[in-house]
Amino acid sequence: MINELDCRGLGCPAPVLQVRNVLEKESPAALTVLVDNEAALQNVSRFLEHQNFLVTAEREGGEFRIIGTRNGGVIAPEMRSQTPVEKERVGVKKIMVLITSAHMGHGDDGLGDMLMFNFIKTLKEMGPDLWLVAFVNSGVSFTVEGSEAVPFLKELAGEGVQILACGACLVYLHLMDKLQVGEVSNMLDIVTGMKLADSVITI
Protein backbone atom coordinates (compact mmCIF):
# COMPACT_ATOMS: atom_id res chain seq x y z
CA MET A 1 0.00 0.00 0.00
CA ILE A 2 1.25 3.45 -0.87
CA ASN A 3 1.98 5.76 2.03
CA GLU A 4 -0.36 8.73 2.03
CA LEU A 5 0.47 11.86 3.94
CA ASP A 6 -2.10 14.57 4.51
CA CYS A 7 -0.36 17.95 4.77
CA ARG A 8 -3.40 20.06 4.02
CA GLY A 9 -3.71 23.15 6.20
CA LEU A 10 0.01 23.24 6.98
CA GLY A 11 2.26 26.21 6.21
CA CYS A 12 5.89 25.91 5.20
CA PRO A 13 8.19 24.34 6.26
CA ALA A 14 5.87 21.78 7.94
CA PRO A 15 4.93 19.71 4.84
CA VAL A 16 8.59 19.22 3.85
CA LEU A 17 9.48 18.23 7.42
CA GLN A 18 6.63 15.74 7.62
CA VAL A 19 7.66 14.14 4.35
CA ARG A 20 11.25 14.02 5.56
CA ASN A 21 10.15 12.24 8.75
CA VAL A 22 8.27 9.60 6.80
CA LEU A 23 11.26 9.02 4.52
CA GLU A 24 13.57 8.67 7.51
CA LYS A 25 11.36 6.35 9.51
CA GLU A 26 9.80 4.20 6.83
CA SER A 27 11.96 4.60 3.70
CA PRO A 28 8.89 4.05 1.51
CA ALA A 29 9.39 3.12 -2.13
CA ALA A 30 6.57 5.49 -3.00
CA LEU A 31 4.34 7.98 -1.26
CA THR A 32 1.49 10.36 -1.89
CA VAL A 33 1.33 13.78 -0.28
CA LEU A 34 -1.79 15.94 -0.16
CA VAL A 35 -1.25 19.71 0.09
CA ASP A 36 -3.52 22.71 -0.32
CA ASN A 37 -1.22 25.50 -1.45
CA GLU A 38 1.13 26.23 -4.30
CA ALA A 39 4.20 26.80 -2.11
CA ALA A 40 3.78 23.42 -0.42
CA LEU A 41 3.34 21.78 -3.84
CA GLN A 42 6.57 23.31 -5.10
CA ASN A 43 8.53 22.69 -1.89
CA VAL A 44 7.48 19.06 -1.41
CA SER A 45 8.15 18.34 -5.12
CA ARG A 46 11.62 19.88 -4.88
CA PHE A 47 12.39 17.99 -1.69
CA LEU A 48 11.31 14.63 -3.15
CA GLU A 49 13.24 15.25 -6.37
CA HIS A 50 16.29 16.08 -4.32
CA GLN A 51 15.84 12.77 -2.48
CA ASN A 52 15.91 10.96 -5.82
CA PHE A 53 12.17 10.47 -6.23
CA LEU A 54 10.32 10.74 -9.51
CA VAL A 55 7.55 13.24 -8.87
CA THR A 56 4.20 13.83 -10.51
CA ALA A 57 1.39 16.05 -9.24
CA GLU A 58 -2.33 16.22 -9.88
CA ARG A 59 -4.56 19.18 -9.13
CA GLU A 60 -7.87 18.42 -7.44
CA GLY A 61 -9.74 21.70 -7.05
CA GLY A 62 -7.66 23.88 -4.76
CA GLU A 63 -5.67 20.90 -3.57
CA PHE A 64 -2.76 18.96 -4.98
CA ARG A 65 -1.87 15.29 -4.84
CA ILE A 66 1.88 14.79 -5.16
CA ILE A 67 3.04 11.29 -6.03
CA GLY A 68 6.68 10.37 -5.50
CA THR A 69 8.32 7.11 -6.55
CA ARG A 70 11.78 6.24 -5.35
CA ASN A 71 14.46 6.31 -7.98
CA GLY A 72 17.31 4.84 -5.90
CA GLY A 73 19.51 6.64 -3.36
CA VAL A 74 18.99 7.61 0.27
CA ILE A 75 18.36 10.77 2.22
CA ALA A 76 21.19 13.27 1.97
CA PRO A 77 22.97 13.54 5.34
CA GLU A 78 22.28 17.23 5.89
CA MET A 79 18.53 16.60 5.81
CA ARG A 80 18.59 14.09 8.62
CA SER A 81 17.37 15.41 11.96
CA GLN A 82 20.30 17.48 13.04
CA THR A 83 18.83 19.62 15.77
CA PRO A 84 20.18 17.82 18.85
CA VAL A 85 23.55 17.13 17.25
CA GLU A 86 23.86 20.66 15.88
CA LYS A 87 23.17 22.16 19.30
CA GLU A 88 25.99 20.16 20.83
CA ARG A 89 28.26 21.06 17.95
CA VAL A 90 28.60 24.74 18.86
CA GLY A 91 32.30 25.63 18.68
CA VAL A 92 33.13 22.15 17.40
CA LYS A 93 34.74 21.41 14.04
CA LYS A 94 33.25 18.99 11.54
CA ILE A 95 35.86 16.44 10.52
CA MET A 96 34.97 13.96 7.83
CA VAL A 97 37.11 10.81 7.44
CA LEU A 98 36.94 9.04 4.09
CA ILE A 99 38.23 5.46 4.19
CA THR A 100 38.89 4.26 0.65
CA SER A 101 40.50 0.89 1.25
CA ALA A 102 40.67 -2.10 3.56
CA HIS A 103 44.39 -1.47 3.96
CA MET A 104 46.29 1.54 5.27
CA GLY A 105 49.16 2.56 3.03
CA HIS A 106 50.98 0.44 0.48
CA GLY A 107 52.97 -2.70 1.26
CA ASP A 108 52.05 -5.95 2.92
CA ASP A 109 48.24 -6.27 2.97
CA GLY A 110 48.26 -8.09 6.30
CA LEU A 111 50.12 -5.18 7.86
CA GLY A 112 47.86 -2.71 6.03
CA ASP A 113 44.74 -4.44 7.41
CA MET A 114 46.02 -4.29 10.93
CA LEU A 115 46.99 -0.63 10.64
CA MET A 116 43.58 0.32 9.25
CA PHE A 117 41.81 -1.60 12.01
CA ASN A 118 43.94 0.24 14.59
CA PHE A 119 43.19 3.53 12.88
CA ILE A 120 39.44 2.93 13.10
CA LYS A 121 39.78 1.82 16.71
CA THR A 122 41.66 5.03 17.54
CA LEU A 123 39.35 7.40 15.64
CA LYS A 124 37.30 8.09 18.78
CA GLU A 125 40.27 10.07 20.13
CA MET A 126 39.25 12.86 17.76
CA GLY A 127 36.42 13.50 20.23
CA PRO A 128 33.40 15.58 19.26
CA ASP A 129 35.20 17.06 16.20
CA LEU A 130 34.69 13.75 14.40
CA TRP A 131 31.49 14.23 12.43
CA LEU A 132 31.29 11.69 9.65
CA VAL A 133 33.14 8.53 8.61
CA ALA A 134 32.47 7.33 5.07
CA PHE A 135 33.61 3.98 3.70
CA VAL A 136 34.12 3.42 -0.03
CA ASN A 137 35.61 0.72 -2.25
CA SER A 138 37.11 -2.17 -0.20
CA GLY A 139 36.86 0.11 2.86
CA VAL A 140 33.21 -0.97 3.21
CA SER A 141 34.50 -4.35 4.49
CA PHE A 142 34.88 -2.74 7.94
CA THR A 143 31.14 -2.11 8.18
CA VAL A 144 29.98 -5.67 7.53
CA GLU A 145 29.51 -8.92 9.42
CA GLY A 146 32.80 -10.55 10.45
CA SER A 147 34.80 -7.31 10.77
CA GLU A 148 36.39 -6.63 14.15
CA ALA A 149 35.87 -2.92 13.51
CA VAL A 150 32.07 -3.17 13.77
CA PRO A 151 31.81 -2.73 17.58
CA PHE A 152 34.10 0.32 17.46
CA LEU A 153 32.07 1.88 14.65
CA LYS A 154 28.86 1.18 16.58
CA GLU A 155 30.38 2.97 19.52
CA LEU A 156 31.14 5.99 17.30
CA ALA A 157 27.62 5.91 15.87
CA GLY A 158 26.32 5.89 19.45
CA GLU A 159 28.29 9.09 20.07
CA GLY A 160 26.45 10.75 17.18
CA VAL A 161 29.11 10.25 14.49
CA GLN A 162 27.53 9.57 11.10
CA ILE A 163 28.76 6.36 9.50
CA LEU A 164 28.18 6.01 5.77
CA ALA A 165 28.85 2.93 3.65
CA CYS A 166 28.94 3.27 -0.13
CA GLY A 167 25.93 1.40 -1.49
CA ALA A 168 27.42 0.75 -4.92
CA CYS A 169 30.53 -0.72 -3.28
CA LEU A 170 28.47 -3.01 -1.03
CA VAL A 171 26.56 -4.25 -4.04
CA TYR A 172 29.70 -4.72 -6.13
CA LEU A 173 31.38 -6.72 -3.36
CA HIS A 174 28.17 -8.71 -2.60
CA LEU A 175 28.19 -7.41 0.97
CA MET A 176 24.89 -5.53 0.99
CA ASP A 177 23.05 -8.12 3.11
CA LYS A 178 25.92 -8.29 5.61
CA LEU A 179 25.97 -4.59 6.59
CA GLN A 180 26.23 -4.28 10.38
CA VAL A 181 26.84 -0.58 11.03
CA GLY A 182 26.23 2.72 9.25
CA GLU A 183 23.81 3.79 6.58
CA VAL A 184 23.84 2.77 2.96
CA SER A 185 24.94 5.85 1.12
CA ASN A 186 25.68 7.27 -2.30
CA MET A 187 28.13 9.67 -3.95
CA LEU A 188 25.76 12.61 -3.45
CA ASP A 189 25.86 12.04 0.33
CA ILE A 190 29.63 11.79 0.27
CA VAL A 191 30.13 14.88 -1.89
CA THR A 192 27.65 16.85 0.24
CA GLY A 193 29.50 15.67 3.36
CA MET A 194 32.79 16.93 1.89
CA LYS A 195 31.21 20.28 1.16
CA LEU A 196 29.77 20.67 4.66
CA ALA A 197 32.85 19.40 6.53
CA ASP A 198 35.47 21.77 7.92
CA SER A 199 38.14 19.29 6.97
CA VAL A 200 38.22 15.99 5.11
CA ILE A 201 40.80 13.31 5.88
CA THR A 202 41.20 10.67 3.19
CA ILE A 203 42.90 7.40 4.08
Binding site: G11, C12, E38, N43, R46, M79, T83, E86, K87, R89
Partner: protein, 348 residues
Protein backbone atom coordinates in the same frame (compact mmCIF):
# COMPACT_ATOMS: atom_id res chain seq x y z
CA UNK B 1 13.57 30.62 33.65
CA UNK B 2 10.94 29.07 31.46
CA UNK B 3 11.08 31.73 28.78
CA UNK B 4 14.64 30.73 27.90
CA UNK B 5 13.22 27.62 26.28
CA UNK B 6 10.59 29.28 24.11
CA UNK B 7 11.56 29.26 20.44
CA UNK B 8 9.92 32.39 19.11
CA UNK B 9 9.70 31.07 15.55
CA UNK B 10 7.57 28.14 16.75
CA UNK B 11 4.92 30.48 18.17
CA UNK B 12 3.94 32.09 14.86
CA UNK B 13 2.57 30.89 11.54
CA UNK B 14 4.36 33.32 9.25
CA UNK B 15 7.91 33.96 10.45
CA UNK B 16 10.21 34.19 7.48
CA UNK B 17 7.63 32.26 5.51
CA UNK B 18 4.70 34.40 4.64
CA UNK B 19 4.69 37.41 6.89
CA UNK B 20 4.24 40.00 4.16
CA UNK B 21 0.94 40.20 2.34
CA UNK B 22 1.45 39.00 -1.23
CA UNK B 23 2.32 41.98 -3.45
CA UNK B 24 -0.46 41.47 -5.99
CA UNK B 25 -3.03 41.25 -3.18
CA UNK B 26 -1.86 44.52 -1.68
CA UNK B 27 -2.19 46.25 -5.04
CA UNK B 28 -5.84 45.16 -5.22
CA UNK B 29 -6.51 46.77 -1.86
CA UNK B 30 -4.78 50.03 -2.72
CA UNK B 31 -5.52 50.71 -6.37
CA UNK B 32 -8.07 53.38 -7.15
CA UNK B 33 -8.13 54.86 -3.65
CA UNK B 34 -8.98 58.55 -3.58
CA UNK B 35 -5.81 59.90 -1.96
CA UNK B 36 -5.59 63.45 -0.61
CA UNK B 37 -3.42 65.75 -2.73
CA UNK B 38 -0.80 68.04 -1.22
CA UNK B 39 1.99 69.82 -3.15
CA UNK B 40 4.36 69.20 -0.25
CA UNK B 41 3.96 65.43 -0.51
CA UNK B 42 7.11 64.65 -2.50
CA UNK B 43 6.97 60.85 -2.31
CA UNK B 44 3.64 59.22 -1.47
CA UNK B 45 1.72 55.99 -1.67
CA UNK B 46 1.33 55.97 -5.45
CA UNK B 47 5.11 55.88 -5.91
CA UNK B 48 5.48 52.66 -3.91
CA UNK B 49 8.85 53.79 -2.64
CA UNK B 50 10.72 52.78 0.51
CA UNK B 51 9.42 55.66 2.59
CA UNK B 52 7.15 58.67 2.24
CA UNK B 53 8.62 62.19 2.03
CA UNK B 54 6.84 65.40 3.05
CA UNK B 55 8.38 68.85 2.49
CA UNK B 56 8.43 71.11 5.54
CA UNK B 57 10.49 73.93 4.00
CA UNK B 58 12.72 74.44 0.97
CA UNK B 59 15.65 72.75 2.67
CA UNK B 60 13.93 70.26 4.95
CA UNK B 61 11.60 67.34 4.39
CA UNK B 62 10.37 64.59 6.70
CA UNK B 63 10.95 61.03 5.60
CA UNK B 64 8.68 58.48 7.29
CA UNK B 65 8.32 54.73 7.30
CA UNK B 66 7.14 51.85 9.43
CA UNK B 67 7.81 48.15 9.42
CA UNK B 68 6.91 45.28 11.75
CA UNK B 69 6.65 41.50 11.50
CA UNK B 70 6.55 38.19 13.39
CA UNK B 71 9.85 36.75 14.66
CA UNK B 72 12.18 35.08 12.16
CA UNK B 73 14.75 34.06 14.79
CA UNK B 74 14.27 32.38 18.19
CA UNK B 75 16.22 34.81 20.36
CA UNK B 76 14.10 37.79 21.56
CA UNK B 77 16.97 40.32 21.77
CA UNK B 78 18.16 39.44 18.25
CA UNK B 79 14.59 39.68 16.95
CA UNK B 80 14.36 43.21 18.40
CA UNK B 81 17.64 44.20 16.78
CA UNK B 82 16.64 42.77 13.39
CA UNK B 83 13.19 44.38 13.37
CA UNK B 84 14.68 47.77 14.26
CA UNK B 85 17.50 47.53 11.69
CA UNK B 86 14.91 46.54 9.09
CA UNK B 87 12.63 49.50 9.88
CA UNK B 88 15.50 52.00 9.92
CA UNK B 89 16.72 50.69 6.57
CA UNK B 90 13.92 52.37 4.59
CA UNK B 91 15.12 55.79 5.75
CA UNK B 92 18.70 55.00 4.72
CA UNK B 93 17.53 53.72 1.33
CA UNK B 94 15.94 57.12 0.64
CA UNK B 95 19.16 58.94 1.52
CA UNK B 96 17.65 60.27 4.76
CA UNK B 97 18.90 60.55 8.33
CA UNK B 98 16.64 58.82 10.92
CA UNK B 99 15.82 60.95 13.95
CA UNK B 100 12.93 59.51 15.98
CA UNK B 101 11.32 56.11 16.39
CA UNK B 102 8.22 54.60 18.01
CA UNK B 103 7.70 50.97 18.98
CA UNK B 104 4.93 48.92 17.38
CA UNK B 105 4.15 45.82 19.42
CA UNK B 106 1.61 42.99 19.30
CA UNK B 107 2.20 40.68 22.25
CA UNK B 108 0.56 37.42 23.39
CA UNK B 109 0.63 38.31 27.10
CA UNK B 110 -1.44 35.25 28.04
CA UNK B 111 1.06 32.75 26.71
CA UNK B 112 4.40 34.55 26.84
CA UNK B 113 6.44 35.88 29.74
CA UNK B 114 6.61 39.67 29.73
CA UNK B 115 10.40 39.45 30.11
CA UNK B 116 10.50 38.33 26.47
CA UNK B 117 8.96 41.63 25.42
CA UNK B 118 11.53 43.48 27.47
CA UNK B 119 14.37 41.65 25.69
CA UNK B 120 12.84 42.44 22.30
CA UNK B 121 12.50 46.13 23.12
CA UNK B 122 16.04 46.20 24.51
CA UNK B 123 17.30 44.70 21.26
CA UNK B 124 15.40 47.31 19.28
CA UNK B 125 16.70 50.07 21.50
CA UNK B 126 20.25 48.86 20.94
CA UNK B 127 19.89 49.52 17.20
CA UNK B 128 17.92 52.73 17.70
CA UNK B 129 20.75 54.03 19.85
CA UNK B 130 23.41 52.89 17.38
CA UNK B 131 21.56 54.80 14.65
CA UNK B 132 21.63 57.99 16.74
CA UNK B 133 17.83 57.93 16.94
CA UNK B 134 15.63 58.68 19.96
CA UNK B 135 12.73 56.47 21.00
CA UNK B 136 9.77 58.75 21.67
CA UNK B 137 6.92 56.33 22.32
CA UNK B 138 5.05 53.36 21.02
CA UNK B 139 1.85 51.36 20.98
CA UNK B 140 1.25 47.84 22.25
CA UNK B 141 -1.76 45.61 21.63
CA UNK B 142 -2.52 42.13 22.86
CA UNK B 143 -2.56 39.62 20.02
CA UNK B 144 -2.42 35.87 19.57
CA UNK B 145 0.95 36.15 17.79
CA UNK B 146 4.01 38.21 18.57
CA UNK B 147 4.93 41.08 16.24
CA UNK B 148 7.42 43.91 16.66
CA UNK B 149 8.72 46.80 14.63
CA UNK B 150 9.20 50.54 14.47
CA UNK B 151 7.76 53.62 12.97
CA UNK B 152 10.70 55.86 12.05
CA UNK B 153 10.89 59.51 11.06
CA UNK B 154 13.97 61.16 9.59
CA UNK B 155 15.23 64.28 7.89
CA UNK B 156 16.11 64.62 4.24
CA UNK B 157 16.89 67.54 1.94
CA UNK B 158 14.01 67.90 -0.57
CA UNK B 159 16.48 68.07 -3.47
CA UNK B 160 18.47 65.03 -2.41
CA UNK B 161 15.83 62.33 -2.23
CA UNK B 162 17.05 58.99 -3.49
CA UNK B 163 14.09 57.14 -4.97
CA UNK B 164 13.81 53.89 -6.86
CA UNK B 165 12.92 55.69 -10.06
CA UNK B 166 15.97 57.30 -11.58
CA UNK B 167 17.90 54.56 -13.37
CA UNK B 168 20.27 55.89 -16.08
CA UNK B 169 21.46 53.73 -18.96
CA UNK B 170 24.93 52.44 -18.21
CA UNK B 171 24.55 52.63 -14.41
CA UNK B 172 25.95 49.66 -12.56
CA UNK B 173 23.97 48.00 -9.76
CA UNK B 174 25.58 47.21 -6.41
CA UNK B 175 24.09 44.93 -3.73
CA UNK B 176 25.49 45.19 -0.20
CA UNK B 177 24.24 42.08 1.65
CA UNK B 178 23.96 38.41 0.61
CA UNK B 179 20.59 36.91 -0.33
CA UNK B 180 18.97 33.90 1.33
CA UNK B 181 17.69 35.09 4.72
CA UNK B 182 14.10 33.98 3.95
CA UNK B 183 15.19 30.44 3.14
CA UNK B 184 17.51 30.36 6.15
CA UNK B 185 14.69 31.61 8.42
CA UNK B 186 12.63 28.68 7.14
CA UNK B 187 15.52 26.33 7.95
CA UNK B 188 15.85 27.87 11.42
CA UNK B 189 12.14 27.30 11.98
CA UNK B 190 12.61 23.71 10.79
CA UNK B 191 15.45 23.22 13.27
CA UNK B 192 17.93 22.54 10.45
CA UNK B 193 20.22 25.55 10.73
CA UNK B 194 23.23 25.18 12.99
CA UNK B 195 24.14 27.81 15.56
CA UNK B 196 27.10 29.08 13.54
CA UNK B 197 24.99 29.90 10.50
CA UNK B 198 22.18 31.33 12.65
CA UNK B 199 24.74 33.62 14.30
CA UNK B 200 26.21 34.75 10.96
CA UNK B 201 22.84 35.50 9.42
CA UNK B 202 21.62 37.21 12.59
CA UNK B 203 24.69 39.44 12.51
CA UNK B 204 23.99 40.38 8.89
CA UNK B 205 20.31 41.10 9.60
CA UNK B 206 21.11 43.23 12.66
CA UNK B 207 23.69 45.27 10.73
CA UNK B 208 22.34 48.75 9.98
CA UNK B 209 22.45 49.97 6.39
CA UNK B 210 23.72 53.26 7.80
CA UNK B 211 27.38 52.82 6.83
CA UNK B 212 26.37 51.78 3.31
CA UNK B 213 24.12 54.85 3.06
CA UNK B 214 26.78 57.23 4.37
CA UNK B 215 29.32 55.76 1.95
CA UNK B 216 27.12 56.03 -1.13
CA UNK B 217 26.28 59.63 -0.21
CA UNK B 218 29.70 60.64 -1.54
CA UNK B 219 29.17 58.98 -4.94
CA UNK B 220 27.04 59.78 -8.03
CA UNK B 221 24.20 57.45 -7.00
CA UNK B 222 21.08 57.77 -9.16
CA UNK B 223 18.63 55.41 -7.49
CA UNK B 224 18.49 53.16 -4.46
CA UNK B 225 16.21 50.78 -2.60
CA UNK B 226 16.59 48.24 0.16
CA UNK B 227 15.93 44.54 -0.37
CA UNK B 228 13.20 43.19 1.91
CA UNK B 229 10.04 41.13 1.56
CA UNK B 230 9.61 41.28 -2.22
CA UNK B 231 13.05 39.76 -2.73
CA UNK B 232 15.92 40.96 -4.91
CA UNK B 233 14.02 40.67 -8.20
CA UNK B 234 10.80 42.05 -6.68
CA UNK B 235 12.48 45.22 -5.49
CA UNK B 236 14.55 45.47 -8.66
CA UNK B 237 11.29 45.19 -10.62
CA UNK B 238 9.97 48.23 -8.75
CA UNK B 239 13.00 50.15 -10.02
CA UNK B 240 12.56 48.91 -13.59
CA UNK B 241 8.79 49.30 -14.07
CA UNK B 242 7.96 52.69 -15.65
CA UNK B 243 11.69 53.51 -15.92
CA UNK B 244 11.90 53.16 -19.73
CA UNK B 245 15.08 51.09 -19.22
CA UNK B 246 16.03 47.47 -18.77
CA UNK B 247 18.43 45.69 -16.46
CA UNK B 248 20.88 42.83 -16.94
CA UNK B 249 21.82 40.83 -13.81
CA UNK B 250 24.80 38.48 -13.63
CA UNK B 251 23.56 35.92 -11.14
CA UNK B 252 27.05 34.50 -10.51
CA UNK B 253 28.07 37.88 -9.06
CA UNK B 254 25.06 38.22 -6.74
CA UNK B 255 26.15 37.54 -3.12
CA UNK B 256 24.22 34.60 -1.62
CA UNK B 257 24.50 32.32 1.41
CA UNK B 258 25.71 28.94 0.07
CA UNK B 259 23.62 27.12 2.70
CA UNK B 260 20.49 28.83 1.35
CA UNK B 261 21.28 27.59 -2.16
CA UNK B 262 21.47 24.04 -0.83
CA UNK B 263 18.21 24.36 1.12
CA UNK B 264 16.46 25.92 -1.86
CA UNK B 265 17.00 22.73 -3.82
CA UNK B 266 15.45 20.80 -0.94
CA UNK B 267 12.25 22.81 -0.96
CA UNK B 268 12.78 24.90 2.18
CA UNK B 269 11.46 27.93 0.36
CA UNK B 270 9.12 30.44 2.02
CA UNK B 271 5.73 30.93 0.38
CA UNK B 272 6.68 34.59 -0.07
CA UNK B 273 9.28 33.59 -2.66
CA UNK B 274 6.57 31.98 -4.80
CA UNK B 275 4.32 35.02 -4.34
CA UNK B 276 7.16 37.26 -5.45
CA UNK B 277 7.78 35.13 -8.52
CA UNK B 278 4.09 35.00 -9.42
CA UNK B 279 3.87 38.79 -9.15
CA UNK B 280 7.06 39.81 -10.97
CA UNK B 281 8.16 36.71 -12.87
CA UNK B 282 6.51 37.98 -16.05
CA UNK B 283 9.06 40.77 -16.55
CA UNK B 284 12.09 38.56 -15.80
CA UNK B 285 13.92 36.52 -18.47
CA UNK B 286 16.23 33.85 -17.06
CA UNK B 287 19.02 32.43 -19.22
CA UNK B 288 18.85 28.67 -19.45
CA UNK B 289 22.05 28.36 -17.38
CA UNK B 290 20.46 29.98 -14.30
CA UNK B 291 19.39 27.03 -12.14
CA UNK B 292 16.02 26.76 -10.43
CA UNK B 293 17.55 27.18 -6.99
CA UNK B 294 19.41 30.36 -7.97
CA UNK B 295 16.13 31.72 -9.36
CA UNK B 296 14.50 30.86 -6.02
CA UNK B 297 17.22 32.77 -4.15
CA UNK B 298 16.68 35.81 -6.36
CA UNK B 299 12.98 35.85 -5.37
CA UNK B 300 13.60 34.91 -1.71
CA UNK B 301 11.99 37.47 0.65
CA UNK B 302 14.70 39.14 2.71
CA UNK B 303 14.57 40.50 6.22
CA UNK B 304 16.74 43.56 6.80
CA UNK B 305 18.45 42.96 3.47
CA UNK B 306 21.07 45.16 1.87
CA UNK B 307 20.86 48.26 -0.27
CA UNK B 308 20.57 47.96 -4.04
CA UNK B 309 22.36 50.98 -5.47
CA UNK B 310 22.43 52.30 -9.06
CA UNK B 311 25.62 54.30 -9.55
CA UNK B 312 27.43 55.84 -12.52
CA UNK B 313 29.55 53.10 -14.10
CA UNK B 314 32.83 55.06 -13.81
CA UNK B 315 32.47 55.22 -10.03
CA UNK B 316 31.06 51.75 -9.34
CA UNK B 317 34.36 50.03 -8.58
CA UNK B 318 35.38 52.88 -6.27
CA UNK B 319 32.07 52.65 -4.43
CA UNK B 320 32.51 48.89 -3.90
CA UNK B 321 36.04 49.53 -2.61
CA UNK B 322 34.75 52.24 -0.28
CA UNK B 323 31.95 49.96 1.00
CA UNK B 324 34.45 47.18 1.68
CA UNK B 325 36.68 49.65 3.52
CA UNK B 326 33.69 50.24 5.81
CA UNK B 327 33.48 46.52 6.57
CA UNK B 328 30.72 45.78 4.06
CA UNK B 329 32.69 42.85 2.65
CA UNK B 330 29.87 41.29 0.67
CA UNK B 331 29.17 44.37 -1.51
CA UNK B 332 29.38 43.47 -5.19
CA UNK B 333 28.49 44.77 -8.64
CA UNK B 334 25.61 42.54 -9.72
CA UNK B 335 24.32 44.06 -12.95
CA UNK B 336 23.84 47.04 -15.22
CA UNK B 337 21.13 49.29 -16.59
CA UNK B 338 20.59 48.78 -20.33
CA UNK B 339 18.49 50.50 -22.97
CA UNK B 340 16.72 47.39 -24.26
CA UNK B 341 14.66 45.36 -23.73
CA UNK B 342 12.67 48.14 -22.11
CA UNK B 343 11.40 47.47 -18.56
CA UNK B 344 12.53 43.88 -18.47
CA UNK B 345 15.07 42.13 -16.25
CA UNK B 346 17.50 39.74 -17.91
CA UNK B 347 19.20 37.31 -15.54
CA UNK B 348 22.27 35.54 -16.87
Amino acid sequence: MTHEKIRLTQTVKGAGCAAKLAPGVLDKALCGLDLPVDPNLLVGLERADDAGVYRVSNDLALVQTLDFFPPMVDDPYSFGQIAAANALSDIYAMGGVPKTAMNIVAFPAKTMDISILRSIIEGGLDKIREAGVVLIGGHTVEDSELKYGLSVTGYIHPDRILTKKNLLIGDLLILTKPLGTGIIATAIKAGLAGQDLTDRVTLAMTTLNRDAALTMDEFPVHACTDITGFGFLGHLAEMVVDSGKGVRIRSANVPMYPEAIEWASMGLIPAGAYNNRNFRGAIVDFSSNVSQRIQDLLFDPQTSGGLLIAVAAMEAESLVTALKAKGIDTAAIVGEVISEPVERIIVE
